[in-house]
């Protein structure tokens, strides 16, 4: 019994060790990273839809009848498998290849066995749970991290309150002590027979003309100060965070998917305006990405409505087609209804009512550009040029716009006040060595030459915007 038990225990422990080891070599996190880097552009992220490449759910089951090595080499270099007719899976792959318009999968010859194993595990996880365990954990972790940061912030503010409370207590203590000492003194004097005036009540002290005058003066001073300060702030809208017509999340796009800011805001590098992307820029990805992680089809439908994209089309299932102008709004809505039903058939949360709600929300957007709410508003008499800052100054977007990649709803990070601009111009160093405009060899500018010499001799570390005239009125006002 003991033996059996111990044997069982032994076996169990061996098994556990084995599985643990296996789990170690098959890291779903590694798999997720690999999938995002290499596979996500062609294969559906939920593993359930056919896109450029087939849905990956159940890939291992499909390959179970063939040797594992062949699946691995298929992933590494598909054309190799296709060419080698001696392989068992050859005929299967050929069929697969033909059904995807003879599109060759990108070869990944450097993938190691354990990496492929991780990838397959990740695919399995996602396909089974609908939500890949690691990302979900990530999300909670991120939320946790978020709450911890807020907590720390709270702690800091708690500290200051504590200090104020302490100061208050001390002040009260001081006053009380003062009065106590005073009373004791008076008692002592009274005892000594010295004439003592009546003690003034606190009210009397407060209503003393001198005190009143000082108080009025203080009120006026403080009032004026606050009024001026608030008046300066009029029209500014720091932290302005309006609701947008589409619940577009920068945290998802710029953060999680790490899409470069200038992929969409392509004016920033060359124009005054950063440019809000046209709807057809959204369609570059969203012809394929048809279901969002947070809002499902609801928000993506609005882009389709605006751009006139038909998500259901027989010809090229993964890309669809655009409606002809003649197709009216009602006909389009019917197509969208069909698509919504299809796309949400596995999701029990999306009821008929929900679909109707989504369609209603998208209806006014059909064929129209999206009316985004402008967040960053400069006064008309201030000239600002994105290209100057992004391309020439190489300023990161986040320096002025904050951590947009963490904002689900964008808000105005900076005050956009003149003081804020001027301070930055005082502190920021221009790209003095990099830009040919400031190059000493070609510049007719004596100033630039002098700065270059001073940098060379170590006299100065760099040149600020102010030092090349960046604080002059007509650099921004004309």
């Amino acid at each position: 019994m003991t033996f059996t038990l111990s044997l069982r225990t032994l076996l169990a422990s061996i098994f556990t060790i084995f599985t643990l080891q296996l789990a170690h070599s098959q890291d779903p996190k590694l798999g997720e990273a690999l999938f995002k880097d290499n596979c996500a552009s062609c294969h559906s992220r939920d593993m359930k839809k056919d896109m450029t490449g087939p849905a990956l759910a159940g890939v291992e089951e499909r390959w179970a009848k063939f040797p594992k090595e062949e699946l691995y080499s298929w992933i590494r270099n598909s054309s190799g498998v296709l060419a080698n007719s001696s392989l068992k899976s050859n005929s299967y792959v050929k069929g697969l290849y033909a059904s995807y318009n003879n599109a060759v999968m990108t070869p990944f010859p450097s993938l190691k066995d354990e990496e492929i194993a991780s990838l397959l595990l990740y695919i399995k996880n996602v396909a089974e749970s609908g939500c890949a365990a690691p990302p979900c954990q990530d999300a909670t972790a991120a939320a946790g991290a978020g709450s911890t940061t807020t907590e720390t912030k709270k702690d800091e503010s708690d500290n200051s309150t504590l200090i104020w409370v302490l100061i208050g207590l001390l002040a009260i203590a001081t006053v009380l002590l003062g009065r106590y000492i005073n009373s004791l003194k008076r008692m002592a004097q009274h005892k000594d027979g010295v004439h003592v005036e009546d003690e003034k009540s606190i009210l009397q002290i407060i209503l003393n003309p001198t005190v009143v005058k000082i108080l009025i003066f203080a009120v006026v001073l403080f009032g004026g100060y606050t009024t001026v300060n608030n008046a300066i702030g009029l029209g500014r809208q720091q932290n302005y965070q309006p609701e947008q017509p589409i619940k577009f999340s920068h945290a998802l796009h710029a953060g999680k998917h790490a899409i470069d800011c200038q992929y969409c805001h392509d004016g920033a590098r060359r124009s005054k305006h950063s440019v809000i992307p046209a709807t057809n820029t959204c369609m570059n990805c969203h012809t394929a990405v048809q279901n969002g992680p947070e809002h499902g089809t609801a928000e993506i439908l609005k882009i389709y409505a605006s751009s006139g994209f038909n998500p259901i089309s027989n010809k090229t299932p993964q890309y669809g087609q655009y409606f002809k102008e003649a197709v009216n709004a009602d006909e389009r809505l019917e197509v969208y209804r069909k698509w919504l039903k299809e796309a949400n058939k596995d999701n029990k949360n999306v009821t008929e009512a929900e679909i109707n709600a989504q369609l209603n929300a998208a209806k006014p957007m059909i064929g129209k550009p999206i009316n985004w709410v402008k967040i960053h508003n400069l006064p008309d008499h201030a000239y600002f040029n994105h290209a100057q800052h992004v391309t020439v100054g190489k300023v990161a977007c986040q320096d002025c716009h904050g951590k947009v990649e963490e904002m689900a709803i964008v808000k105005q990070h900076a005050p956009l006040s003149m003081g804020w601009c001027v301070n930055c111009h005082r502190q920021t160093k221009v790209k003095f060595d990099e830009n040919g405009y400031y190059n000493a060899k070609t510049a007719t500018h004596k100033m630039y030459e002098q700065y270059h010499n001073e940098i060379k001799s170590g006299k100065r570390a760099g040149v600020t915007v102010e030092e090349i005239g960046g604080l002059e009125c007509q650099k921004c006002h004309y």
């Binding site: 060359r270 124009s271 020439v392 040919g436 405009y437 005239g469």
Partner: protein, 1095 residues
């Protein structure tokens, strides 16, 4: 004003010469009080209203600041690849209006055309005219016709259009056309080959069609003379760049005659003198003699002027012909007597100069008289001008008018069934026939005949028509022009049509029943025309694709051999020519034979010219102004407010009257003591007119001049009833009248809007002790500051023969100033400015012809508001760039100089020191910066500016605030009492340059050296990672200039053009002696004047 070493007198106006007391006292004030400057008049707001508004304003501001309005950012649905919001896109196109055209580049921002620039590859070499510059505003004219329809009168008797859809109106028109026995098409010269093609198609469908082309300012006789003598009914290719001696007879070739931008560019080549040419100035410079009655823009630029009565032109041309004939051995000299005594000697001298420059001389004539034109051709033959200064290749095709066919048209109009009037206004501007034409049209309309106007505006003619089918604006439409032989230019749309209009070409194609292809049938038609006719004629591009893409990109195609111009493309044009003259291109081989024959013809013509003038005491000379044309620009407030260059008047036409001078300091007019702005009454060809007068130097003593093109009844909010119309009093297609009564004073125009005496500087007067002082610095003068120097350097000039001495004198003078300045209190801060960029401008006074393109370009680029006639009369005009006009020399026929004056960006600026809030200060790049949002409107700076270039926004001209009471009714005090505010309409506001702040009431503004362009050029250089090159920055006035008179750049770059011009021997700074260290260098004016010319 005088410079003492130069004994020649310089003056700005008669007031300046006579030291008129009113004027002197007015000049003392920076902001002169005018009689009509009565604030209670201005608005109906009382003190209580003011308090109400203040209360409301404070409340509104508070409320407004509580809730910030939500702004929307609406992106493209599908972004066109070439458009990036915030970056300007340029399209090569052509400005076309009537028979006028100019290749241009259209600057668009966010899909809106906002500025016109010259086309550097075209024949005008990148220059523009004021009209082309202002044309962009017409696109956004709120008075444009918005749809096709039937013309009706509304309750107040104003014409309006009752909309009819294009399908319906087409049906109606075609049904009328198909039964019409006589169809007339009336237009200006049509220079578009494709449009002519469309009209040809129309004519082949409706064979009863006659197409008549006319011009309000006709050159029909010039064309006829060429047809009869050379078999070529065209304007030849005049080469002003080759001509060393130019005699122009009543011909404003720099301002309004045929192709002025091209001629001005060529003309200036022989007027600009480099330092090396100074020693040989008389030879290097061309001699320009102008024979005319009143002073024209071209005449004001001439070296010599010969004053003639219009009735004496014949005898003058005859005499010039005979003189040249005698000197070239082709005949004998003759002499004639002229009312201006010096004319005889002057014509002899002119003939001598012409013959001296034989083969390099040129005589041009703008008189619409066949014999005169033939005689002038004869003079050119004798001078061997053909083949050198007059070419038959690349000849001008902009004029096709025929006066005879117009007479025939008007006679036959009563029996017409359909009359189609293209972009023309014959009921207003058909000389002598306007009344007959409008009566006939009115009658036809009443009879239910189809009278159709294709104009995009409601005009005097369109109002009489039964229907309108409005054309696109040229910025919205496709089109082509063929202004010169072998030159083809495209018009391409730069914006989607704003209204339900349709291009004339498409209308004709539709009515002709032609097959309409695609969404833009006229574009397809034009494209196939070009491919069919031009692809084989050119040798630059091989494939169709390359051909079309490149011509579209360049907006033009110039055939390497102009005479290889495709015949069938021309035949379209020629067939449309009502005169049907054989249009063979004269080639050089038979020119000799022809010219012998032609010379005989011209001898005959010259001998038949009348050899004596009219006995009439007063004659009227009618002329065209550079801004108003024949009235087609009337509704353009930019052009209305642009001062006439010669007379410096705005928003009106005037009777220019001569000034009599008794040799002393005693000047008067022949009609007693008239002053500018006095109203006179006179009878011209039996019609009574009341006109304000302006006393004009250089005017023949028996001649009065009036501009045509004013006084339109139906032009729109800005243009209706401005000035007086004289087209009806013309004697046919001639522009002078001898039947004139003596003018009598009947009153004074309180709104006299001449800007000549506004913002003048450097005027002098005598103080109580009889000591000479400067008027505008009188107060300072009492205290003996340096600013009270009377000998101030404003304008320097010299003659070509004395140029070396003139240059030496100037050098001496500048040395003295510089010495004085070196002793001044203020240190030079040159060490600061030499560190980085140091922006500077140079203006060659010899190249500037005063055309005014720069002033309108500046308004367009910098959102400078229009203020209206009433405000101009109060000196409130806001132009950042004005052109000062100076007369000098002989009082009878003075020479004229134009001096563009804008902020001089003084490095030692007097305006900066006095600003209490530092709203104006200096940048390290040498710019005098104006920060509007800091300005509190004390106007100290304007008081302290020695050049008078700062302007104050008295009222809310651009509707920038919330109080409508501050807005300005442009028509206040005008006959057209329609309430009209400028820039309050969203459509008009589309023309605003988004890179420049729109100023509000109560701030000072002034020239910024186009700082937005400087910043843009610097940014481009930085983005490309290279240094800024000379020529990267072109300021608006510079790029608009047809003669290249303005250069701009970094003076720290020693190789830049501007630093070279600054160091020119002719260079000087205005008011250098007051040590303001300005950044604008002027180059001394030089005339090639011969002192013995009239002896």
């Amino acid at each position: 004003m005088n410079n003492q070493d130069n004994t020649t007198k310089v003056w700005v106006s008669l007031e300046d010469l006579t030291q008129d007391a009113n004027h002197v006292s007015a000049s003392e004030l920076e902001f002169p009080a005018h009689e009509n400057h009565d604030e209670s008049n201005h608005s109906d707001a009382s003190r209580r209203d003011f308090l109400k508004y203040v209360g409301f304003g404070v409340g509104a501001a508070t409320l407004a600041s509580c809730e910030i309005p939500v702004k929307k950012a609406i992106p493209f649905l599908v972004k066109p690849e070439e458009i990036v919001p915030g970056i300007a896109t340029y399209y090569a196109s052509t400005f076309v209006k009537g028979s006028e055209c100019l290749p241009i580049l259209v600057k668009t921002r966010e899909g809106r055309p906002i500025k016109i620039e010259g086309h550097p590859m075209a024949y005008a070499k990148g220059g523009t005219s004021a009209r082309a510059q202002a044309s962009v505003l017409e696109l956004y004219d709120t008075d444009r016709l918005k749809s096709a329809g039937k013309v009706e009168m509304n309750k107040s008797g104003k014409p309006q259009v009752k909309e009819i859809s294009w399908e319906e109106i087409d049906k109606e028109i075609i049904s009328k056309l198909s039964v019409a026995k006589s169809i007339k098409i009336v237009s200006h010269s049509v220079i578009s080959p494709s449009l002519l093609g469309a009209i040809e198609l129309f004519k082949s469908k409706y064979s009863n069609t006659e197409h008549v082309q006319y011009e309000p300012f006709s050159n029909s006789c010039l064309l006829d003379a060429n047809a009869q003598m050379f078999g070529n009914r065209v304007v030849p290719n005049y080469r002003f760049d080759i001509a060393k001696c130019i005699v122009a007879i009543e011909c404003d070739f720099l301002g309004t005659w045929i192709s002025p931008v091209e001629y001005a560019a060529d003309y200036s080549k022989n007027r600009i003198l480099s330092d090396e040419q100074i020693a040989q100035a008389t030879k290097e410079m061309s001699v320009h003699v102008q024979m005319e009655a009143g002073m024209s823009l071209t005449g004001s630029n001439a070296d010599h002027r010969i004053l003639l009565k219009p009735s004496e032109y014949s005898s003058a041309v005859q005499m010039l012909f005979n003189e040249v004939a005698a000197l070239t051995g082709n005949g004998t000299a003759s002499s004639a007597q002229f009312s201006w005594k010096k004319a005889t000697a002057a014509i002899k001298s002119a003939a001598k100069k012409l013959v001296e420059n034989k083969g390099k001389s040129l005589v041009v004539c703008g008189i619409n008289d066949l014999n005169i034109q033939k005689a002038v051709n004869g003079i050119n033959i004798m001078l061997e001008s053909y083949g050198s200064t007059i070419l038959w290749t690349e000849y001008c095709k902009q004029r096709k008018e025929n006066d005879e066919s117009v007479s025939k048209l008007v006679a036959e109009l009563g029996s017409a069934d359909v009359v189609i009037i293209m972009d023309a206004n014959p009921a207003f501007d058909m000389p002598a026939k306007a009344k007959a034409f409008s009566d006939a049209i009115k009658n036809l309309t009443k009879l239910g005949k189809l009278t159709l106007s294709l104009s995009s505006q409601m005009t005097d003619t369109a109002a009489l028509c039964s229907h309108v089918a409005p054309d696109h604006n040229f910025l919205e439409s496709w089109g082509d022009v063929n202004p010169k032989q072998g030159h083809f230019y495209l018009i391409q749309p730069t914006i989607k049509p704003l209204f339900k209009t349709r291009s004339i070409g498409q209308s004709f194609l539709t009515w002709a029943g032609a097959e309409l292809m695609g969404d833009q049938p006229y574009y397809e038609f034009l494209k196939s025309n070009w491919k069919k006719n031009l692809l084989t004629a050119q040798d630059k591009y091989i494939t169709v694709q390359a051909f079309w893409e490149n011509v579209l990109h360049d907006g033009m195609l110039i055939l390497s051999d102009a005479s290889s111009e495709p015949k069938n493309f021309i035949t379209l044009a020629v067939a449309a020519d009502t005169n049907k003259t054989q249009n063979s291109t004269a080639n050089t081989s038979n020119t000799d034979n022809k010219s012998a024959n032609a010379l005989d013809q011209s001898k005959l013509a010259a001998s038949s010219l009348s050899s004596s003038g009219s006995n009439s005491k007063w004659e009227i000379s009618l002329y065209e102004t550079v801004n108003m044309g024949s009235g087609q620009y009337a509704n353009n407030p930019w052009l209305q407010e642009m001062p006439d260059p010669v007379r410096r008047t705005t928003w009106d036409n005037f009777l220019s009257i001569p000034i009599e001078w008794d040799g002393d300091n005693n000047y008067k007019t022949p009609f007693g003591n008239l002053v500018d702005g006095d109203l006179v009454e006179l009878t011209i060809n039996d019609t009574k007119y009341t006109l304000p007068v302006i006393r004009q130097f250089g005017q023949h003593k028996n001649v009065l001049s009036v501009a045509l093109g004013y006084g339109r009844d139906i032009a729109g909010k800005a243009g209706s009833k401005v000035g007086v119309n004289l087209f009806n009093s013309c004697d046919g297609f001639t522009y002078h009248i001898t039947k004139v009564s003596e003018p009598k004073k009947v009153g004074h125009d309180d709104m006299f809007a001449s800007v000549q005496m506004h913002h003048t500087y450097g005027l002098k007067n005598k103080n109580k002790e009889g000591k000479e002082i400067n008027v505008d610095e009188q107060v300072l003068g009492h205290r003996g500051f340096q600013g009270s120097l009377t000998n101030r350097s404003v304008f320097f000039q010299s003659t070509a023969s004395d140029l070396q001495k003139g240059v030496e004198d100037l050098k001496e003078k500048r040395k003295e100033y510089q010495y004085l300045n070196s002793k001044g209190l203020y240190p030079s801060r040159e060490e600061v400015y030499t560190m980085g960029h140091w922006w500077a401008m140079s203006i060659d006074l010899n190249a500037c012809v005063g055309c005014g393109a720069c002033t309108v370009a500046c308004m367009a680029e910098n959102n400078v508001p229009v203020v209206g006639k009433f405000e101009v009369s109060k000196s409130h005009e806001l132009t950042w760039l004005r052109i000062d006009r100076y007369f000098y020399g002989d009082e009878e026929t003075p020479n004229t100089a134009y001096m563009p004056m804008m902020c001089q960006h003084c490095d030692n600026a007097p305006c900066e020191n006095v600003c209490p809030v530092a709203a104006t200060n200096h940048s390290s790049e040498g710019l005098n910066q104006m920060t509007y949002n800091r300005c509190i409107g004390t106007r100290y700076c304007a008081n302290n500016c020695p050049f008078k270039v700062r302007r104050f926004n008295w009222l809310d001209y651009t509707s920038a605030d919330i109080f409508p009471v501050n807005e300005v009714d442009m028509n206040r005090g005008m006959e057209n009492d329609e309430y009209y505010t400028y820039m309050t309409d969203n459509l008009t506001r589309m023309v605003l340059n988004p890179d420049v702040t729109v100023r509000s009431r109560g701030v000072i503004e002034k020239c910024s050296f186009c700082v937005q362009r400087l910043q843009e050029a610097k940014l481009t250089a930085k983005v490309e990672g290279r240094r800024l090159r000379d020529g990267d920055v072109k300021v608006a006035c510079q790029s608009a200039c047809p003669t290249g008179a303005i250069v701009f750049g970094d003076r720290n770059d020693k190789e830049s053009k501007v630093s070279k011009w600054m160091n020119s021997h002719r260079g000087y700074l205005a008011l250098e002696e007051v040590n303001v260290r300005s950044s604008v260098t002027y180059l001394m004016k030089v005339v090639n004047k011969d002192s013995k010319f009239t002896a």
